[in-house]
């Protein structure tokens, strides 16, 4: 085996962040979150722990909804989805996310696709993991140009869910909704605190002696490179074969 691929660290980190969930939903075009969820499912199964259910939108194999595209949201509203992933063209220090575009709405330039289900799911899924591989000042801004979904809500607003963590290509942050703000939890191998600070457009708490994001152990890595990549290839063939090429390079 070659050394650990940076994306394998991201996948294993997602698996750790999902520990304890019964049902995780994954949006379309999200191979890394899907792999993290599949790795958790495989590890729980191996350990004889209660099963983890995964719903991948747009997949036939990993989707058991029968009531059309409304069912995911109904299911989340009922409290039956424990974790979900959201990204954003912009994410700010209060965990507000923007999936609509840059500049003055409505003439946003560039215009991005739109808010999808974020303006609802962010409120009702208990463990939302913000995931954005690109870690740059254009993504992590001081204040988003459009709030597709707010990171926190005023007291009295129905809010059973929200962000718990932000995972990027450089680091892992936790989110404290009481402050509100992000705290640096760990730096991925090969990345330094100064570099992360320069690439982040908002202020975050960084406790002394921030650790390294751990790499998966040998056994976990074998599971990820074998069974999980086989499962992932059904939904994300291109991603799975690219990972295999790079890991075996």
């Amino acid at each position: 085996m070659t050394e650990v691929h940076p994306r394998e660290i991201l996948i294993a980190t997602i698996t750790r962040l999902l520990d304890g969930v019964r049902h995780v939903a994954v949006g379309a075009s999200s191979p890394i979150p899907a792999a993290g969820a599949m790795l958790l499912r495989a590890m729980k199964k191996r350990a004889g722990a209660p099963p983890v259910r995964i719903s991948i939108l747009g997949s036939v194999e990993h989707n058991f909804f029968t009531n059309g595209s409304a069912e995911l949201f109904d299911c989340a509203g009922q409290g039956r989805i424990d974790a979900f992933f959201l990204g954003g063209g912009q994410i700010d220090g209060q965990a507000n996310i923007n999936l609509v575009g840059v500049g003055d709405y409505p003439a946003s330039t560039p215009r991005w696709p739109g808010s999808f289900g974020s303006a609802y799911l962010y409120f009702v899924v208990p463990r939302v993991i913000l995931f954005r591989e690109e870690h740059s000042p254009r993504v992590f801004v001081d204040k988003v140009d459009f709030i597709s979904a707010p990171g926190t809500s005023a007291p009295g607003v129905h809010r059973t869910g929200g962000p718990v963590a932000l995972l990027t290509g450089k680091a892992l942050f936790s989110f404290d909704k009481t402050r509100p703000g992000f705290t640096l939890e760990s730096l991925h191998p090969g990345h330094a605190l100064e570099e992360v600070r320069e690439a982040t457009g908002f202020a975050f708490a960084d406790p002394r002696d921030t650790g390294r994001t751990p790499a998966p152990d040998r056994e976990t890595l074998a599971l990820l490179r074998g069974q999980v990549m086989d499962e992932l290839a059904e939904t994300y063939p291109e991603f799975a074969s690219q990972m295999r090429r790079e890991v075996h390079a």
Partner: protein, 271 residues
């Protein structure tokens, strides 16, 4: 019925309900609509839009789009949509997926609105003056909740695998297609084939059937979702969508692309 005849039902200024890319998009109707040329259309995407929406915008037929997103999926942003938004040529009523479903659900029940959680404090809500926030009348303390008005599109258009000779349409588990049909004034459906067996004749097929009661017209269009896939039938032609995404970066490229015949679709059979 043929595609041209169905497209003739669409008048300028109508609101059209169109499904998400994986549910059964009647791409066969896109060119018929462009040929028909009825403009000032208001599109209602259930709950997001893609290639069909982008092509109708590129053809200059669209006045507004109500949607939770418009994209070409793995092929990236929707080029004609993005340019039209940047130039202010179309109005976008940005929504969120469950709000679109809530609007259809209200219409399905004959109700004026449907309440929906979430949204409070978002710019999605701030830019939707047609949505209202009230306090939950059943709560003891203040409990703000958003009301989404019922959507009643003039025409719903989608593609499905099959219909029977009584006009019943097989929609399987794609229940949003039924929701669109319940809410819309007319429903136009293209199908891969017409079957002789009555879809309501067995409990197994009846459960996934939209009864003819909600269906206005049906036309046969083999591979009618292409280049999108159709569940249980054929896969998405990703290479073709990428080819479109590249071509449609400019208005000229879009026009050239649309002037070519739809290569991946079988010719419409004689009725």
């Amino acid at each position: 019925m043929d595609l041209r005849g169905m497209a003739a039902r669409v008048e300028a200024g109508m609101q059209l309900a169109l499904p998400v890319d994986y549910a059964g998009v009647s791409m066969a109707m896109t060119r018929a609509l462009i040929e028909r040329g009825a403009g000032d259309l208001d599109l209602f995407c259930v709950p997001t839009g893609g290639l069909q929406v982008d092509q109708l915008i590129g053809a200059g037929l669209v006045r507004s789009v109500e949607t939770s997103a418009v994209s070409l999926g793995e092929a990236g942003g929707a080029p004609r949509f993005n340019q039209a938004v940047g130039e202010g040529r179309i109005v976008v009523r940005d929504a969120t997926c469950p709000a679109i479903h809530a609007a259809l659900m209200a219409a399905q029940k004959g109700n004026p609105f449907q309440p929906l959680r979430g949204l409070v404090g978002s710019d999605v809500l701030r830019f939707r003056p047609d949505w209202r926030m009230i306090d939950n009348p059943f709560a003891e303390d203040r409990d703000p909740i958003v009301l989404i008005p019922a959507a009643r599109p003039d025409i719903a258009i989608f593609h499905a695998p099959m219909a029977d000779r009584n006009g019943n349409v097989w929609i399987g588990r794609r229940r949003e297609l039924a929701a669109m049909a319940y809410a819309a004034g007319q429903t136009l459906v293209t199908v891969e084939r017409i079957i002789d067996e009555n879809l309501l004749g067995s409990e197994t097929s009846a459960a996934g059937t939209l009864p003819a009661l909600y269906v206005t017209e049906i036309a046969v269009a083999p591979r009618g979702a292409w280049p999108y896939g159709l569940w249980g039938e054929y896969a998405t032609d990703t290479a073709e969508i990428l080819r479109y995404a590249k071509a449609a970066r400019t208005a000229e490229g879009f026009a050239t692309y649309m002037a070519q015949p739809a290569a991946g679709r079988a010719e419409e059979p004689a009725q």
